[in-house]
Amino acid sequence: MPKDGGIGASTKRREDVRFLTGNGNYTDDINLHGQAYVHFLRSDVAHGLINKVDTEAASAMPGVLRIFTGADFEGVGGIPCGWQVTDRFGEVMQEPAHPVLAQGKVRHVGDPIAAIVAETYAQARDAAEAIEYDIDELPAVVNMKDALKEGAPKVHDDLKSNLCYDWGFVEENKGAVNEAFEKAAHVTTLELVNNRLIANPMEPRVAVGDFNRSTGDHTLYTTSQNPHVIRLLMGAFVLGIPEHKLRVVSPDVGGGFGTKIFHYAEEAFCTFAAKALNRPVKWTSTRSEAFMSDAHGRDHVTKIELALDKDNNFTALRTDTHANMGAYLSTFAPSVPTWLHGTLMAGNYKTPLIYVNVKAVFTNTVPVDAYRGAGRPEATFQLERVIDKAARELGVDPIALRRQNFITEFPYATPVAVEYDTGDYHATMDKLQEIGDLSGFEARRKASEAKGKLRGLGINCYIEACGIAPSNLVGQLGARAGLYESATVRVNATGGLVVMTGSHSHGQGHETAFPQVIAEMIGIDASMVEIIHGDTNNGPMGMGTYGSRSLAVGGSAMVRATEKIINKAKKIAAHLMEASEADIELKDGAFSVAGTDKSVAWGDVTLAAYVPHNYPLEDIEPGLEETAFYDPSNFTYPSGAYACEVEVDPETGRVTIERFSAADDFGNIVNPMIVSGQVHGGIGQGIGQALLEACAYDENGQLQTGSYMDYAMPRADDVPFYTVDHSCQTPCTHNPLGVKGCGEAGAIGSPPAVVNAVIDALQSGGKNVTHIDMPLSPSRVWAAMQG
């Protein structure tokens, strides 16, 4: 196999050429003949009764085609939720309606009241100014604990309260966990906030709806991580369009990070309006709109307690979390604080007893859903922070305390329902100590002190569950979807291949990495393989890209389909060489008969498949095209150890990241260059969460961080070069490539490392600071230092 293009090669990305030359094809670059433009009039109050929306004057404005309000969507389905959580009393969660345009009430700043369709964007925006609307502002609930108080204003009047669910996991363990705490030699308690974030892919969301009057077919172009899922949700639950009459296309997508998984009202609107007006209808979100309409992430408030015995072994863990759902349930929102969070609370440690309680709460804020890591960063942050606090309370080395409690034997069944197949947590910690030069830290600390700075070292370990997910398992847990992935491999007569994958690439490099796998399997050049994704008319039903699943699940489907191709090709080759199929070997793109010099090239076989003159037609069909659906038997469990070194300016509280090292175990790796890039990006976002980013609301539910002027995105001068390593590899045992997934690790592993480092720095300077909530802005750090 030519190693420059197969598994393990840092092949340069082929997609880069079009992006570097301005030839990408993003959704906003799509313009259809005769298209009209929609602008959404959005609520500027967090909670209110809609008394009147008078569109008469606005409808007469130049260029206006039609103005839609909530009344136009009566009888149309609402935006559905894809996951139903059952609470600890056996009751299903409270699930409110979510209309496409607000009906009766607005429930968060940004809730759409009316949609103005006009000949140009400018005309639509102008007309929005002329809509006369009257909203009686109601008291808003913003703080989760206030929202649960007796008599609190209700976000949804038809629900019993603002409590979506009260989830206990594992409920049967609760008594034993409490008992273990009573017997503990030491208990460490920490209350913390996992700050609300906005995913902020650089490409804002866009939707273009189109309707073909002659065929009755609908097409939606949208910035989605999973166009097939959008087709199913929007077609079946919102607009009542059968899937065979609905095509969803997601071309080049400029980043997702979770927030482009979900089905949004604007997609349904553009599809609906295109038919109503018999014209294509386009919406391009402004960044300001994105801040108040893209699903947000995180926003957990947690109390965590860790029990240890007299030898510092972890004996039990107990957590109490409030998780913000926002005003409506976004597509996968209920799953994030439960099955993507509670199941990870064992972390890398053999804590025998764990109980997790999560209260999910409705508030008058933008819906909250998965953001890079989705539940796993929240689990890791609280666990790794409480371990660090315990080490300080006990006066033991935080690395030694972690190592003492590491899981070392696999497979390992945790007390929170998952079974880790492989891992080697000592190996990644060893590697971290090496690449981070941790033994040199004290010398670096002295050098910082000589400059008048406080230096700190923060360590963090993480485990995550990726490769989402076994369908039968998630079905039991409340998923209203299967989580397999699909691939169709089409071999052309002249030997080139096209792979239609249900995965979607929005920066991950599938167009480069996926062909490397096929090149390795067949022994041909990767340039003979083309990847097609993002079009529901061009490939089998797929579930899309999120949860670090593309290679582990989508790649596995591709491997299975390619295996079918190879098996059939061997039958053809055996016929051509008049040999037994069992004797056929495939190597370097040629089929040979074992023990002979007989050989036929890959291209000879593919040509025979399509020109079957000399062909076993009685045994096999012509053609060479196969489809596979791959449903994983378990999650994958990437893990790693991270180290952050910070300097804190004691005069100002400003934190700078001086060194950042990451040792990850992703199992086998197809393209190391791409994997490193994924880790870099995750670390950048994690540093953003730890030091800079916060989505803030005031007590009335006004969004205070509504643009990049207020929401602090990490910039190039906020971060250092990172040292990343993924040479520790314990291959996944249950997928054909042995891969685990690398997309979210950086964002999961880095925030606790940063915070642990700052606490270490402050304590080294004699400050009695045990915790600061993220983001660790200069003002927060300075205030903490003042005691």
Binding site: K12, F19, D28, A716, D717, F721
Partner: protein
Amino acid sequence: MPQVNMTVNGKSASGQIEGRTLLVEFLRETLGLTGTHVGCDTSQCGACVVHVDGKAVKACTMFAAEAEGAEVLTIESMAAPDGTLNTIQQAFQDHHGLQCGFCTPGMVMSAAALLKDNPKPTEAEVRDYLEGNICRCTGYHNIVKAILAASGQDVSAIAAE
């Protein structure tokens, strides 16, 4: 509607615009040069950086009418006519300086302006110059590395692939 005339990527370009039409709207919608992107509405993200009379400008911060008579260069002008990437573009590919590609045109145009003024920038100078260009994918590691490499400096000591 008034007419605006300018030179874009070496060719004369003109069109009818409203007074409020932004340069980036003129480039994308009137001329169909969709390589220049819009990532925000507060002149923060830099996805729309182009060169106007030799200077890097955020095309969302300038009215099209203000570019009357100007020489404008966009990302579409950076590669050779036969498609060969220029030094900066090639360095971005070689060092994996892009993922989703959305911020990339602005990054390349900013990098070109930086290297014109400062042909051998330090790491700190590169990071400082990129203050006005936001990338959400790369954590900036490989962007900074690519720009240093494009300036002819040895980047082999910088960690990772």
